[in-house]
Every structure is written in C-alpha cells, then in structure tokens.
C-alpha cells in the first residue's frame, strides 16, 4: 500500500532592522553575550514596550507579497510560558487567527515545470528569544542579545498543500526569494535568520484523514530540510507498515548522523494562556498606509522569471538561477543595462560567475568582478580583440583582482592576433615542429586539424583568432 506524506511549514524569519522589536537595542549578532540588552528586553518591572514601525511595515509588505488579506486592526498578545529563553515569562506575539497582520494568502511554487499555489494560513509578528547554552550539567547559560529581536512567523494552511520533501524545499526556496527581494530578511538558513520547522505526517493512499504528525527542528540548510523530511516520512511509513502508531512529538534532526530523534523541550504540556498585550495599543492599518507599502513591493521572483523568458528568450533553468536571489537578478540587469546581450550575460553569470562564487563562497554583492567588468570583457571578446581562451583567463584574473579587463589586455598585449603575417609565421612553425601529424593530415585524417590549431594557440599564448588560425593552417598545408 502506498502512503501520501503531508507537510505543513512553519517558518521564522528574522527581520532586517537596526533595532529590536520593542526597544532600541541593536539587533547586531556576534557581539559579546548580554551586551545588546536593556531593561525592556530583560523584562524588568515597569518598562513599556513600543513597537518598531519598520518591523511592522516589513511584515505588512511580506503579507502583501504573499497575497494575504491584511487585518484592518492588528493586535499583540502575550504568550505565557516559563522557559529561561525569555526573561519576561511571556513572549509578545500575535494570537492564532485573531488579528495577526496577514491571513489567508498563498505563495506560488514551481513543481515539475508547473506553477502551484501553496496556501498560507497566517503571517504574524513576534519577538525572538534569547539563546541558551547547556555546557555544564544541571544548569544553562543564557545570552539575551537576540531576545526581543523582531521575528516574522509564516505558517502554511491546513490541510497541507505540500506532499513531498522536494515540494517543501521548493516552498522554502520561493519564500526565501520573496523575502530577500523585499529586503525584509537576509534568508541565511545556516546562520538561523531563516528557520523552518516542518510538521510531517503520512496517511495511506486514498485515506480521507491525515496521519499523526511530528514536528522537526534543527534544519539549518535546504539540504537538511530535504533529508530531514525524507527521513521522517520513511520512518513514519515503516512504523505504520509494521502495524505501529506514530507518536505526536517534536523531533530534532542530526545532519551529521542523518537521523531524527525525539526532543523534550518544555517540561510539560503547554498552556499558553494568550491574552491581549495591555501595554501595546492596536495597530490600525489604513488603506492609505497599505497603498504606500504596496507601492514599495518590487517585481517578485516568478514575475521576473516570466519577464526574462518573454523579453529575453532565456530558458527555464537559467531564469531560475538568475532570479533565485535579488542580488543575482540585479547583477544580470545591470549587465543588460550596460548593453550586454541578455543571453550572453546570462551564460557568463549562470556558468562562469556562479562557479567562481560557489568555489570561493562569495556573495555576488562582494564580487570583485562587477557588471561593468563583465560587460567590458564580453565586448573585447565580441569585437575579436581577445580570444575565448584569453577571455576565460581574464575572467578568473579579474574575479581575483577586480582590475579592468581592457586595461589588463592593453598592459599585457593580450590582443588577439588576426594579423595574417604573424599567424602565417606561427602556422609554419607549428607545421615544421609536427611532421608526424602533418603526415596524417595529408593522408586524409583531417580530424588532427584541431590538434594543430591547439598548437598554434599555444605558440601564440592563446592570442590567435582560432577561426582564422584554422583557415591559415589549411592554406599552408594544402
């Protein structure tokens, strides 16, 4: 019997703001523990939280981009629990379906070449928790630098629209793309600024009911999301096939060991006793404010991909690479604006540039090879000033140094040789040095020509125009 997995996604995105959600402490990470704290985020008596307007606007913009209905009035609630990651004894959050900023939206994803909507239940704003370390037995160490940083929660609708690990990953890829396009989150899963906690269940094919679900934590990369969900689906299917029952629980994922394990995080079943946060007045989202924010929403990844296909005739795979990240798309558009033919720009960016960026783990924004450099390089190549081989060498060099290609070419005399006499002299030299090969050519084995052209390229340090070189060699041999 086959089983159908169903996956719900709960995603937490750290919002890109300078200061925390309810106080003026910096949101900067990596500082010494407990240095970015104040009486408000430490939950000292008598303090008053005041919401960060930019964080609220980030969430409204995200909710708009995710096609949500926006609450005319949004409210904060207190979610009460005892755990040392929050000093107040409660987290300021929004409550389920009651006045979160956005509800009932959807995000389009691409599954097997088709666009499919994934329904979103809600988008809400809350504060992040502090960080606990468990180094010594019997105690925990707490750093509150992150406590009170603005956090957006995005939850998919129920029953789930996602039915495979790959679809769940694609949801996350598209969500990350939208959030980074909006500039509301940097989307770094490895650093925890985008965290995903899927809940997973399996049910026999044809069953009207969903199975018992488990929630999976510690997924710190796209790879972990796929492997973790796949593992959990297989684990549950095996339990059911053996006649057992899945236990509803939270499980952790071990990326090193490639297995999930039961986690016990809180000491007993939660009873959060939500109630309206009395210290924060409601947020009224007027039509005027909404329209102002709507006007700031850029062209989103899938719209961009459609446009690149239509306007520039680019293929599905390259448009995906170009639009997966706003900075790659911007880079591409800058090249096009500099007059580079879109298809050519796309080839260089999705092949050569992506490879170098991946090898050196470089963010495209910090690439020393800027769009202007690439445009310069491509122009040199297309005008026949340099050969394709020199172009690739130059590419590597500029990627490392950030120098201007045309200046390097001039300084080093890398200009392509199309000059008849120089090429002919080099061709004769090659013919003289390779009598065996020349013999084969004359005997009718014309495939050795590519070897001779290669030798001629070597002779000229890659500066020969290969097409012209072949022609001259043939003339000399025949």
């Amino acid at each position: 019997m086959g089983y159908i997995p169903s996956i719900g996604m709960e995603v937490h995105a750290q919002l890109l703001t300078e200061s925390k959600m309810f106080c003026a402490c910096p949101t900067r990470f990596g500082d010494l523990p407990n240095t970015n704290v104040c009486p408000i985020c430490l939950g000292m008596p008598g303090v008053l939280p005041v919401p960060n307007k930019k964080a609220v606007e980030h969430v409204i913009r995200a909710a708009l981009a995710l096609n949500c209905q926006i609450a005319p009035v949004a409210m904060f609630y207190r979610k009460n629990y005892f755990y040392p990651d929050l000093p107040k004894g409660y987290q300021i959050s929004q409550y389920g379906e009651v006045h979160p900023i956005g509800v009932r939206g959807f995000l389009e994803i691409e599954v097997e070449g088709a666009r499919v909507p994934v329904r979103i239940r809600r988008v809400h704003l809350e504060e992040d928790t502090g960080k606990l370390f468990h180094y010594l037995p019997g105690e925990s160490e707490v750093d509150f630098n992150r406590a009170g940083a603005p956090l957006m929660e995005i939850v998919t609708d129920f029953p789930p629209d996602l039915h495979s690990a790959e679809a769940a990953k694609e949801y996350l890829v598209q969500l990350r793309a939208v959030l980074t396009y909006l500039g509301v989150c940097d989307g770094k899963m490895e650093e925890g600024s985008l965290r995903c906690e899927p809940n997973i269940s399996v049910a026999p094919e044809g069953s009207a009911q969903l199975g018992v679900k488990t929630e999976l934590k510690n997924l710190n990369s796209f790879r972990a999301v796929v492997r973790g969900i796949e593992f959990e689906v297989e684990r549950q299917i095996k339990i059911l096939q053996e006649g057992g029952q899945v236990v509803q629980e939270t499980r952790g994922w071990s990326e090193e060991g490639a297995y999930s394990f039961p986690m016990r995080t809180k000491e007993f079943e939660q009873d959060y006793r939500y109630f309206p946060e009395p210290d924060i007045v409601p947020i009224q989202i007027t039509d005027e404010w909404l329209e102002q924010l709507r006007a700031t929403i850029p062209e989103l990844p899938l719209q961009k991909a459609d446009r690149y296909r239509k306007e520039y005739g680019l293929g599905a795979i390259e448009t995906r690479i170009l639009t997966a990240d706003i900075h790659t798309a911007t880079y591409f558009e800058q090249c096009v604006a500099l007059g580079v033919e879109p298809k050519t720009a796309s080839n260089w960016i999705t092949v050569e540039l992506q490879a170098r960026l991946n090898e050196t783990n470089t963010d495209i924004r910090h690439s020393k090879l800027q769009p202007a450099h690439l445009a310069d390089l491509i122009e040199l190549l297309q005008k026949g000033v340099i050969s394709g081989r020199i172009a690739k060498e130059l590419f590597d060099e500029v990627f490392q140094s950030g120098e201007t290609p045309s200046q390097i070419v001039q300084a080093r005399g890398l200009v392509q040789i199309s000059d008849e006499d120089a090429l002919r002299a080099a061709a004769r030299k090659v013919i003289a040095a390779n009598p065996d090969v020349v013999e084969k050519y004359r005997a009718g084995k014309t495939s050795v020509m590519s070897f001779l052209v290669g030798q001629l390229m070597r002779e000229t340090q890659g500066r020969a125009n290969p097409q012209r070189a072949g022609e001259i060699l043939r003339e000399e041999l025949d």
């Binding site: 703001t17 300078e18 200061s19 106080c23 003026a24 402490c25 910096p26 010494l32 523990p33 407990n34 240095t35 970015n36 704290v37 104040c38 009486p39 430490l42 005041v50 919401p51 960060n52 307007k53 930019k54 964080a55 609220v56 009035v73 409210m75 009460n80 005892f82 755990y83 040392p84 370390f133 468990h134 037995p137 019997g138 105690e139 925990s140 160490e141 707490v142 750093d143 509150f144 016990r264 995080t265 000491e267 007993f268 009873d271 006793r273 309206p276 009395p278 924060i280 007045v281 409601p282 947020i283 009224q284």
Partner: protein
C-alpha cells in the same frame, strides 16, 4: 461554574506556586467569589459587541527603527542570582 481543586492545582503549577491542597482549598473560596462576577458578565447579551482589549481609542504608537542606549553588561547582570563570563546562569529545565 465553580473552580475545581484540579483546576486550582493546574493554575498554581502554571504560576510556579508551591501550594498544599489545604492552601489551595482555602484559596478556592475567594477565587470562586471572583468567578461569580465573571458569570454575571457572561450572562450579558454581548454577541454583537467587538471585544475591547484597550479602553482608550489610541492606535499605532510606534518608535522609529533607531538604535539607542543599552545597559552596561555588569549592570544587566547585577541582579542575577548567578552569572558567569557575562552569561546568566539558570537551573537546567530541559530533561536530560
């Protein structure tokens, strides 16, 4: 709708109050008196009334996204029952 001893135990646990059943039973009387007030409120026909969480008609009290002063670390940790290396030390409450 009187509160039960079981609910009293649960409520005490949520508030991390260590109370004996005797003390809880004693506290049930004033709490039940309070519950009666709520019962009277609940009897009112308020279906058409939006819940009011804030009694003043004020909205959108925001701050701009600007960084301000933070506490010196020594001050932040000054009242902590236990601290070490700039970190708060708390009893472990995760089961091992």
């Amino acid at each position: 709708m009187a509160i039960t001893l079981e609910q009293m135990r649960h409520t005490a646990k949520l508030a991390r109050l260590e109370l004996t059943d005797e003390q809880l039973t004693e506290l049930m009387r004033p709490i039940n008196a309070l519950m009666e007030h709520f019962e009277r409120l609940q009897a009112l026909p308020l279906d058409a009334v939006e819940p009011t969480s804030h009694s003043i008609p004020v909205f959108n009290a925001f701050r701009e996204d600007e960084v301000g002063a933070t506490l010196a670390r020594a001050d932040a940790l000054a009242n902590a029952p236990e601290a070490r290396d700039g970190l708060f030390i708390v009893p472990r409450i995760v089961e091992e």
